[in-house]
Symmetry: C2
Subunit: 448 residues, 2 copies
Amino acid sequence: MSKKEHIVIVGAGLCGTLLGVRLAQRGYEVSLYERRPDLRQVEQDAGRSINLALSHRGLMALATAGLGEEVRDLCIPMHGRMIHAPSGDKWLSPYSGREGEYINSISRPGLNALLLEKGDSYSNLTIYFEHKCVGVDLEAASARFVNKDGVEVEAKGDLLIGTDGAGSVVRRAMMAQSTDLLFNFSQNFLRSGYKELSIPASATGDFRIESNALHIWPRGKFMMIALPNLDKSFTVTLFHPFDGPTGFRTLNTPEKVKAFFQEHYSDALEHLPELETEYFTNPHAALGTIKCYPWQAYHRTLLMGDAAHAIVPFYGQGMNAAFEDVRLFDELLDEHNGDWEKILPEYSETRPQDTNAIADLAVDNFYEMQDKVDDADFIQKRQLEMKLEQQFPEYYSKYSLVTFKPELSYHEAMVKGRRQDEFLLQLVNETPVEELDLSAVLEKVNKL
Amino acid sequence: MSKKEHIVIVGAGLCGTLLGVRLAQRGYEVSLYERRPDLRQVEQDAGRSINLALSHRGLMALATAGLGEEVRDLCIPMHGRMIHAPSGDKWLSPYSGREGEYINSISRPGLNALLLEKGDSYSNLTIYFEHKCVGVDLEAASARFVNKDGVEVEAKGDLLIGTDGAGSVVRRAMMAQSTDLLFNFSQNFLRSGYKELSIPASATGDFRIESNALHIWPRGKFMMIALPNLDKSFTVTLFHPFDGPTGFRTLNTPEKVKAFFQEHYSDALEHLPELETEYFTNPHAALGTIKCYPWQAYHRTLLMGDAAHAIVPFYGQGMNAAFEDVRLFDELLDEHNGDWEKILPEYSETRPQDTNAIADLAVDNFYEMQDKVDDADFIQKRQLEMKLEQQFPEYYSKYSLVTFKPELSYHEAMVKGRRQDEFLLQLVNETPVEELDLSAVLEKVNKL
């Protein structure tokens, strides 16, 4: 492998920038193109706006790029789900029974800025902002961009990687050659969408509700969640159907919205001073899953991150999966000594099984979060899982397998986790948790 | 409902033309647009070229348009699969144990011409050839076309129906509004493709091999099939992987092709005088499944036929499913008295379950045809099914449920048929067919 090889990356979001950093660290000549302006130079409150959940898989990938520690400053640990029942009762359902296992609320632009800063420190990585990709030659590993002056420029690499998100232009080029590439593709939308609201910091500049938790107001066919931000605010997201009695399109007057919140989200209402403005200003948007195969073409062009596998946000794994893409690609670079002819097919054959698994788990979790988390059997099952994890650190619940055990693939976590779930749900349905012999339960789980 | 409503149909293939005829019969003003020239005026051997299998579902739909009898003249009955084993042995595996249940080999252009002739007999149906659809306004039920003179024309209906096949422009317009419509879409390609060859009539003008059968040369990971034509020729289709030792791209010299046929299709070789020319002249093409949902937008635009559900050809049901679309749509017109606001959503909610089922069954049959039909257990199972159908006419095998029982939906046929298959395969695996008590078997099947 020649270290002078040129790699063109389309998309300087989270995945593309981490990838660029890692490839620059390996000595490649990297050109990273981004449609939007540099988010570090555009007015933007990095502590607010869209936030994400960063957990072990993402942290492990960031660590390979030497960013494992720096990222901690941007993180707010969330130790569990704070469930807000319709009655006004609330309780914390921990994510793990082990110490030190939690997920982190982190701002997307804040993290992206950190990655771009890191990128700037490598002379062999060049980032081009305001370059919109308008065409890709898959076989030539080249792409055409229109820059902010309306000038068209071309970039040609030895390898082209599309990390340009769910609406990927690189993927669209593969789609246009569907029959040649035998390019499988699917997009599936939930019948519910989302809308963002916010809980500001209190008058005294503090968090208004518990900061170290992911708040959920589960309501069966709809829900609201809230994640903490560094500026002591919370980003709140409504997940509702588009139509029907609880639909965004139906709740279309300030009176209806207020009455609805009074009925269904009453304990949150006092913390949402801008509810009316935000509800009618912020758009509601769709939630979809994208899968495709193959991810590579002609051993010259590759998809990664959301461009290859966009998922719904309910397992908090979208970014983690994209970062893990980078880590696994990096491992293959070692294994095959930078030989694209081997790396690209192997990556495209092996990785989709895992991202398909997390895609399906994320859809499952949509139903779990809005409808199951306040269900008696589910609560019992979580209690049992916490006890098992506390007493037997080698035991991992499905959630823990997916979230806290990055050495296990998503697919293995899904298969093992689902089997466990089924068994434990049946168990707590038959016997109260306090009457169960934990050692005997663990033994049975291990035999599944 | 006003009978003067104008319906624009995009695509005058088999589905679009039958639909146009049926809607004209109901009194609608119908405009039918077709990209290609009139196939009745273009040099074309209607007895040859691409042929299809017409069976009960398709016939039932044609009958509703008064074409049930006329179409018989175009049909060549195929009573079963003629299996050509590698040894040179061959045997007929019947499609049904009942009298009068068979499928029909029919020429696509021949049938399309019959439908167009019928269409010409209605003054309220106008067919525009050489009009290529270049854009669709889903909400306005209008479409733009470029005609053969390069002139752009617009057609606006009260309803627009896209029957423009697997590459549908109407579907692409829905795809472009994915997030508004929550438009789910998938395309999946088999890793094998197909290439057409032909067996001409004999020197004496007769069929060279058995005419009333669908011939199969099953070879595990690849196969060849042949269907009879009215001119005593056969259309032959190779189904092979693209790559690998048996792949189209690997068999790339006349010597390799000849040696391959001598080894794997030796009994057919003498009937393929143009093998070399045809193999290297005719393209190899991909085989894919397309699913989508919803099929309608704004109660004004609807997809039907391959545009909504393209399937692989291995159950011989692609055309039959498209014709059944028309029949079921026609039933809904009666049920809801032509009210599109009711008809389109109900159609879009109910019909995809069935076309998804036949899509999956067709993929299953790909593996069955190339790999199972000469397997001992499979042969035993088919023998048992034939005996059951002969002795108990109320018993239907999975194949018969799908093919010969149009009053049962594809989805019901799939569920019931798969359950039966599993049970019968297990049975013949344990006990030779001749030792089985058929009444007892039937009783168990009925209890499944």
